[in-house]
């Protein structure tokens, strides 16, 4: 395992006895106590995640807005300072480079792109490759920033009471503000990847460690990537590499709402054609009537055994006690209530197509 990276909180994870595993090129905590405990802590109280592996790329300059709008599926024109949009960067064929958040900075002509850890270099190179003719710069600052996600119904109260961040109570969903912590910039953002209310805090690595330590002292549950995946899955949120990829377009993944086809962007024509003609495959939710667990890669079949798709993520849902999965299936079998079968080892389990948002999310509007 050469060149594995670590985050600024790596030593803290080891000291807590976390089960560590490589993820996106980083040695990351999968769980501290148990995935179930950590999952339930976020749903019922609050939990904190080290997400310092995520990438931070700034686009700045006179053409920053136009350039971001050219590479991004969502429409940043008119996005107000302090507001955030979710969307993708696509290849001309509609395949996905990455899914990301775009932050409209308070200073003019400046956008922060928060990208997946596994894709930082690829995204940066992609942006640079598209830059010719645009009057703006692209700067990858991923290594200079730490990030923690404080998620759950008690997250706001913890920020206000523990850190005195009363601004947390004022922020709406998908907005952010600039704070100062120990003289350094701290971006407080009401965003997350769990289906619960929550915040993401971007600041220096040193500040990140200090915030983490104070949260640990206050008894906030440390949460690993294991429950990050179970939480996002229940909330119907895609993971790049599983539900979005160069082969799985946003239209196939059911994320057309984040693709503004009435503006120009890379991949627009391909996505418009998919929307017009129907994508060959669609991402669906499937629930099976058994406690067996549909895992990524398991075949999705018809009653006669013919294969019509594949599971992309699946769990026995911790919050819902249901065996559910996302699966990419032939579009003909993507309607709600369509009966489908999943092959799990030697047995085949009957199920049906259900809504992808399995869990009722609790975002603060």
């Amino acid at each position: 395992m050469e060149d594995i990276k670590i985050t600024c909180l790596h030593g803290r994870h080891l000291a807590l006895g976390a089960k560590m595993s490589p993820f996106a090129g980083f040695d990351m905590p999968i769980q501290y106590s148990s995935i179930i405990n950590e999952h339930l802590a976020v749903r019922q109280k609050a939990g904190v995640f080290d997400v310092s592996h995520m990438g931070e790329i700034w686009v700045e300059g006179a053409d920053a807005e136009a350039f971001v709008n050219h590479v991004f599926t969502n429409d940043v024109r008119g996005l107000e300072p302090g507001h955030i949009l979710y969307g993708m960067m696509c290849y001309p064929d509609g395949g996905v480079v990455d899914d990301l958040l775009v932050y409209r900075e308070f200073v003019p002509e400046s956008y922060l792109l928060v990208v997946n850890a596994a894709n930082i270099e690829k995204d940066y190179e992609w942006l640079l490759s598209q830059l010719e003719g645009w009057n703006c710069s692209v700067r990858n600052e991923s290594d200079s920033w730490g990030q923690i996600a404080l998620q759950g119904p008690k997250a706001e109260g913890i920020l206000v009471n523990l850190f005195g961040m009363k601004e947390a109570a004022q922020l709406g969903f998908y907005t952010f503000c600039n704070l100062e912590y120990k003289g350094k910039r701290l971006i407080l953002s009401r965003t997350g990847y769990t289906g619960e209310d929550g915040f993401e805090l971007y600041t220096t690595p040193e500040n990140t460690v200090e915030l983490w330590d104070r949260l640990m002292e206050a008894g906030v549950e440390p949460c690993g990537l294991g429950c990050r995946d179970t939480l996002r899955f229940e909330a119907g949120l895609p993971l790049y590499g599983d539900e979005l990829s160069p082969e799985i377009s946003p239209i196939m993944a059911g994320l057309g709402i984040f693709c503004k086809l009435d503006k120009e962007f890379i991949g627009r024509d391909a996505l418009a054609a998919q929307k017009e003609n129907g994508a060959p495959k669609k991402l669906v939710g499937i629930e099976i009537e058994d406690k067996a667990i549909p895992r990524a890669g398991y075949p999705v079949e018809l009653e006669d055994g013919s294969e019509v798709g594949v599971v992309t993520t699946g769990y026995h849902s911790i919050s819902l006690d249901r065996s559910i999965c996302f699966a990419l299936v032939d579009a003909a079998y993507s309607k709600l209530d369509t009966p489908l079968w999943i092959r799990i080892r030697k047995k085949v389990f009957p199920g049906k197509v259900v809504k992808k948002r399995f869990y009722q999310t609790n975002y603060k509007k």
């Binding site: 995935i35 026995h316 080892r345």
Partner: protein, 126 residues
């Protein structure tokens, strides 16, 4: 530290075997349950199935992953622990008390090929 009981036989795939009157009780070790984390489902065979030493007879599922169960011995499955269907977490709570299947030994000499407690301890310490 993982608990290892004296007097049991162990497989390299982290199952334990305890023999009582020609019947082998098969479960997974403390080390295995710790590695898996919260077990949420036990895929059991049917009573009457034939199992073969070294071959898969079922699976344990944790939140995150599925792990095949390999039979350390050959023979007929005379009983499955159906209690685990509704309470798979018992494998985490009491791995040596939670046998998964009982096998009528077809060939008791297969037990000689399995690891002693000392040999299994050495295996997981590696």
């Amino acid at each position: 530290m993982s608990q290892i009981l004296e007097g049991l036989k162990y497989s390299e795939s982290h199952e334990w075997v305890k023999v009582e009157d020609g019947i082998a009780l098969v479960g997974v070790t403390d080390y295995a349950q710790k590695e898996m984390g919260d077990i949420t489902y036990v895929d059991l065979p049917d009573e009457g199935d034939e199992v073969t030493a070294g071959e898969s007879f079922g699976a344990l599922e944790s939140v995150k992953a599925s792990s095949d169960l390999y039979s350390p011995v050959s023979g007929e499955v005379v009983e499955v622990n159906s209690e685990l269907e509704d309470a798979p977490e018992k494998v985490n709570e009491d791995p040596y008390g939670s046998w998964i299947i009982k096998v009528k030994l077809a060939d008791a000499s297969e037990l000689d090929a399995l690891l002693t407690a000392a040999a299994y301890t050495a295996l997981i310490d590696e």
